[in-house]
Assembly symmetry: none
Homo-oligomer: 220 residues x 4
């Protein structure tokens, strides 16, 4: 996690210019917040700097004082979002660490908590994944974040190593992580634009996802 934080800090520094304070800091925050809002509303690049300027009460010149170009601004928003997600994952893992005695108890709590973290970060996670498709720096960021998330999940499952029946517990933990993440991410991505996926379905799916993993870990 500090690896990602470092990478992100580095990137933000390299796009912006220097550690800022006071009015400058506030102005930078307004840029980023406005850009983020617009990106969520309309898509990664489907906003104009004119809009950031007027909505965010920041002059166009100021934007170019902090960012080399529009792409840099977009990337900075995604870098921040990725950092936030990573931090929330950390917090979530820490909170879960002490609370469950057995794997069977842990798995549903984990699914529930992770789903909540992803739900909160879904809009920007989606934007990051979309942008990664065509933007190498964001693709690299996404991969770093994914590997980090994987290692964190692995560590969590490995605390219950003895309860995993198969001959290769690490592999099982890795598979479970991928399947859980994919399922949650997929449902959330549909969720945003779909009313057909009701709360009921969603809760059922989370429960069954937990049951499936538990059965998997228990199977020889």
């Amino acid at each position: 996690m500090s690896a990602l934080a470092d990478a992100v800090e580095l990137s933000l520094e390299s796009m912006g210019r220097a550690p800022l304070q006071g009015r400058s800091k506030a102005s930078l925050e307004r840029m980023l917040a406005t850009a983020r809002t617009l990106m969520v509303e309309r898509g990664n690049e489907d906003f104009t700097l004119q809009e950031v300027s007027s909505r965010g009460k920041v002059s166009i010149g100021s934007i170019y004082l902090r960012f080399e170009n529009k792409d840099s601004l977009v990337r900075a928003v995604l870098y921040r979002a990725t950092q936030t997600l990573a931090q929330e994952e950390d917090t979530m893992q820490a909170a879960l660490a002490a609370s469950c005695a057995t794997l069977k108890e842990f798995v549903p709590h984990y699914v529930e908590a992770y789903s909540e973290v992803l739900r909160r970060n879904a809009p920007l996670l989606r934007l990051t994944m979309m942008r990664a498709e065509h933007d190498p720096p964001i693709s690299a960021l996404g991969k770093r974040a994914a590997l980090l998330a994987e290692s964190k999940a692995l560590a969590a499952f490995m605390r219950y190593r003895d309860e995993i029946a198969g001959p290769d517990p690490e592999m099982c933990a890795k598979a479970a992580h991928h399947i859980i993440f994919a399922t949650l991410a997929r449902q959330l991505s549909l969720g945003s634009s779909s009313e057909s996926v009701t709360n009921y379905d969603w809760n059922v799916l989370k429960r069954e996802l937990g049951r499936m993993c538990t059965a998997y870990f228990a199977a020889v």
Copy 2:
């Protein structure tokens, strides 16, 4: 499937104008094929009609004769792609229908075959999912296709109803379908831009996905 076909036909008719023949038909096909190629190369809207015109040997005027605007052309490509995917799902299900005696035997074959169908259709499936984010007609199309796919998967699993241990086999089948689809779709989407997901990992994941579902179905 015929439900989707009907919907797609309807939509295509409403954007295009009339049943076409001969040269007109060929010209329409060139438009759609060229647009599809460009969309895959660069993204849903990141191509110009000028390019479709020159690459596809179609005049700009004739594009506007068949489609109300650029969005209609993009949508037509996605409608067709969705239809193609649905047909391949049908073919795949039909091929699998007779070949497996037990659920335990069926599941890994199903995962493998479905993954192959999705791999073939990944580029346009990805475009459809991205566009759905901000385009209601495509969002609706996606939902129809997802429901259709769900019902087809359900029917397949239900052939082995007796082998599903839980009290609600339908719910289990539904959950399994969502988890399988989400996992496969997610891996394929990463796959396009990621070399880190090697064939080995991918094959391992598919195998474990099968094992997980099998364990799930077997669990009480």
Copy 3:
């Protein structure tokens, strides 16, 4: 001269796209005329395409239909001007060819006629020379035109080869050409923005320039 004409035609074709007729031709002419006027008024690049559009009753899109970018438009104006100057030099030389029996008679007529040609073309000649400073294609054009002008002048003087006293008549003719051209060009360039160079001075200078060359040719 046909060498320059060819080069210019080639260049114009490569910037514009095809032989045009009727309305297209007229529209292209308006672009070039408007750009030329603005360039003379304000300098090579100190005009906006918006101005060309509104003053010339041409849409901005039309300009980009004929020219790759603003630089291409500027260059096309200078290419045309260079071609015009070369043609007027030809015409002038042809008119002078038969009319003078001796070198002493020819020189002042030549100075007078050349000065008139340069006066007519001074504004665009000046623009071409200024642009050549920083624009390789225009620099190359300028050199081609200068060499062509030199060879034409040389041929004219050589008709009176026997009247040139020195041991190397060609060299003398070349030197005379350079000195005549430089002097006339310099006066004209000052002339445009200077009222201090009165007609009287100008006429005196031309007369003396003739006398100087005549004395030079006569000297051993």
Copy 4:
């Protein structure tokens, strides 16, 4: 020359504000030197004050403390350059004054020495002439400098008044000056961007320019 110096001083005072000392003086010098370098590199106005600020270690604010606007800075550079050229002309004339017994001996030395002075000052002389085209104050400066140079050249030639054959030696001297200056200036301006004007040609031209003037002065 003192006339020009006065004019230039006046102008510099009117753009700058007060007689400066120490750090202020050094800072002003850095501004002017940096601006001059950039102007020579890229053209009269093709540099940014940001560049002057960073390259010259001068704050943007302090530029505006000394100069009303960017144009004033550009003009100050050209004023200084013009002053320098005038001083070098003076030095050159003084050095030549005693050394030649006859006009025939003087002329080639004069051409050679003047050509050297112009060569050294060519870049900024060119910038001054280009700017004069569209900037009245610089046009006025150029005219003052030209008249001054003319009067200095006249005085030099007049020392050999008896060797000029024609009925109006002053007029001949004036004509010779204009022709010499024009020819040298033209070759130097071409020289910067042209490799076709070789040293050989250039030396030949200077020699022939001398011969031409000598023949002219000797002719009745």
